[in-house]
């Protein structure tokens, strides 16, 4: 692929439009090749300029988003996601190329990155300590994570709690936060200055708009954090705030059910999770008001370490 570009005539210093783009996402390097101009524009809006593909970094995930066959370019155009080894999803409409790429990268990380215990959780950091928000889809995890990221917490990740089981530290993976359906409105009202991308209507998860990861998070995306608090959030409409301490064993069970690769890691996963739960204080939270929840989180006891 690179050779083909090397042969193509080009002005010095100008990358040909279809050249692969390199993005760093925390511990991973991703190479994206796509002819879709809008997708490339959204990528640079979200993650900044790409690095040149100099062949000097390890590429963890080699991704392509292609157009469908010629006929489909004319009628209901498609976007097809491919990794270097697989085409895991059915094609999306071309206008949904960005959410497709983001989900595709999630799939890649979840199926390959077993150098981490991967929790399905939002993770944020303050004063060097990390807050883990593990939750099932629909519990308001992304909304809460986005809101905290807009109120001074450093965003590590909205989707993956990457626990390095060698060190017990959490690694950042600061990417766009996909807000779904009513959450889009909620975050717009919560922080009118929030940088939201275009709304993609009627995806498989409903309407989706992405919150751009804060520049500070991107800049510090190689700084790991010591886990200190685990809160299992659950949004229930009109519910008063309830924050209840959780026993270690309950937290352990819920975390193990909520991880992408807990079973696969076997004893390594068990040890990592045990250490995580022991080093954290755990709560279960139910909330109906975002501001009340954030205040409660801001007042969680400072860890004695």
């Amino acid at each position: 692929m690179n050779n083909a570009f090397a042969r193509a005539p080009q002005r010095v210093g100008v990358r040909p439009p279809r050249a692969p783009a390199i993005y760093r996402h925390g511990p991973f390097t991703v190479r994206v090749t796509t002819p879709l101009r809008r997708l490339r524009a959204l990528l640079s809006w979200c993650y900044g300029d790409s690095e040149p593909d100099a062949g000097t970094v390890l590429v963890h995930f080699d991704l392509q988003v292609r157009q469908g066959p010629l006929l489909r370019r004319l009628f209901s155009p498609q976007a097809i996601f491919r990794t270097d080894t697989a085409t895991p999803f059915a094609p999306f409409p071309r206008s949904h190329a960005f959410p497709l790429l983001e989900w595709g990268l999630n799939w890649c990380v979840a199926t390959r990155a077993h150098q981490f215990l991967m929790l399905h959780a939002g993770v944020l950091e303050r004063d060097g300590y990390a807050l883990v928000l593990p939750a099932v889809p629909g519990s308001g995890k992304s909304t809460l994570t986005a809101a905290l990221a807009l109120r001074g917490w450093r965003l590590l990740s909205d989707e993956f709690g990457l626990l390095d089981w060698r060190t017990g530290l959490l690694m950042p993976l600061p990417r766009a936060i996909p807000l779904k359906n009513r959450s889009i409105r909620v975050i717009r009202d919560f922080a009118p200055e929030a940088e939201l991308g275009p709304v993609f209507p009627k995806t498989r998860k409903g309407d989706v708009a992405h919150l751009r990861p804060p520049a500070e998070s991107r800049r510090r995306q190689h700084e790991s954090a010591q886990p200190a608090w685990i809160v299992f959030p659950r949004y229930v409409r009109n519910s008063p705030l309830q924050l209840a301490g959780l026993h270690d064993s309950t937290a352990f069970t819920r975390l193990s059910q909520n991880a992408f690769n807990y079973r696969l890691l076997g004893a390594t996963g068990f040890d990592a999770l045990t250490q995580l739960v022991r080093s954290c204080r755990c709560w279960s939270a139910q909330f109906g008001d975002l501001n009340a929840m954030i205040t409660a989180i801001d007042h969680l006891p400072v860890p004695e370490m």
Partner: protein, 351 residues
């Protein structure tokens, strides 16, 4: 040359690798699901410290799949033993399960698609009854398929325990009963050995290699069998160190009439992966080579379908098709093959 084949040949080549070369190697290894095994090959040579740390952590992370599967295999074997032992049916482990239990290096990082065991032909029906009572079910519902397995094949239709996802293949012979080559299972049982501190048996060293060779070069379409070729390469490298192995191997191939697949295995492992095979053994096995035209054709086709292809190079469709035809030709006599293919052709998608 493919970077993957280059490194299997000579793992020390990674010391001179640029990051660009690593990226190409990893791309091929991922496509062939060989990352974990590659990491084992590198580790065996003590080369792990020479790899860039981010590469090493990416490669070794893929070993969890193999370890997870091996744990599942151990569990499945215990359950099978519990079902079969009370009826006095011995279990012989084949392929991956045997490599792992015999402590061979080839098992390191090796994934499992299914679990293969062998039971004596005379006790096959008893075994099937016992497994059915124990909760193992077959998903092969079609009557023709059931008959196909029972009358012509060397194994029962694949079994699944109803509470687990693991596929179990129960063999009573190594190769299909309708095939050109039919090594006598009683000879295999007689030479097999019991593993220390374990209720299971495994084939003797020579038979283990011959079985693996026959699987690739007699009973498969060869295309897509790079991992099996690596099995052969690693088995030869490890078992070949054992006293008198090569002499026993040649003699055994005569007895079991598996000279031809052995010849192919030695030839292509040596040619493609640089497997250390003594020159005398290569020559002696060449006595089982086919006629010159067939040999030349195989030399053309086999590397074409096994070598990893650089991205953008189209797949070797013609070679794949020819070897597919060959595999069926070797499996059944022409009349039976024609009837079988006719049936398959007229069958609707639902099987």
């Amino acid at each position: 040359m493919s970077p993957l084949l280059h490194i299997i040949r000579d793992p020390s080549g990674v010391q001179a690798f640029s990051m660009d070369a690593w990226n190409r190697l990893l791309r091929e290894s991922r496509a062939h699901y060989l990352c974990a095994r590659l990491s084992c090959l590198i580790e065996d040579r003590g080369l792990a410290p020479t790899c860039p740390p981010e590469v090493w952590s990416d490669l070794t992370a893929q070993r969890f799949f193999a370890e997870h599967k091996q744990a599942q295999v151990r569990l499945e074997l215990r359950k099978l033993h519990k079902a079969l032992a009370p009826r006095g049916i011995p279990m012989l482990l084949l392929k991956g399960a045997a490599y792992a239990h015999a402590g061979l290096r080839v098992a390191c990082g090796r994934d499992f698609a299914d679990l293969d065991i062998m039971v004596p032909r005379a006790q096959l029906e008893a075994a099937e009854t016992a497994l059915e009572a124990g909760g193992w079910l077959t998903e092969t519902k079609h009557r023709y398929d059931q008959r196909y397995y029972r009358r012509w094949m060397h194994e029962l239709p694949p079994l699944h325990h109803r509470t687990r996802s693991f596929e179990v293949d129960v063999h009573h012979a190594l190769l299909p009963l309708t095939g050109r080559l039919r090594p006598d299972p009683t000879l295999l049982w007689a030479a097999s050995r019991r593993l220390p501190d374990s209720p299971y048996r495994v084939l003797c060293d020579e038979d283990m290699l011959l079985h693996s060779a026959a699987q690739v070069f007699q009973d498969s379409e060869i295309a897509g069998e790079l991992r099996a070729l690596l099995d052969l390469h690693q088995l030869m490298a490890e078992l070949g160190q054992r006293e008198g192995f090569w002499q026993r191997l040649l003699a055994r191939a005569q007895v079991l009439e598996l000279g031809r697949p052995l010849h192919y295995a030695l030839r292509y492992c040596h040619r493609m992966l640089g497997t250390p095979v003594p020159a005398g053994v290569l020559d002696a096995a060449a006595a089982h080579a086919p006629g010159a035209p067939v040999q030349r054709l195989m030399d053309l086709l086999v590397p074409r379908v096994l070598e990893p292809r650089s991205p953008g190079r189209p797949p070797a469709r013609m070679a794949v098709w020819l070897l597919f035809v060959r595999s069926h030709w070797l499996r059944m006599p022409p009349g039976l093959l024609a009837a079988h293919l006719l049936r398959k052709a007229f069958r609707t998608g639902k099987g």
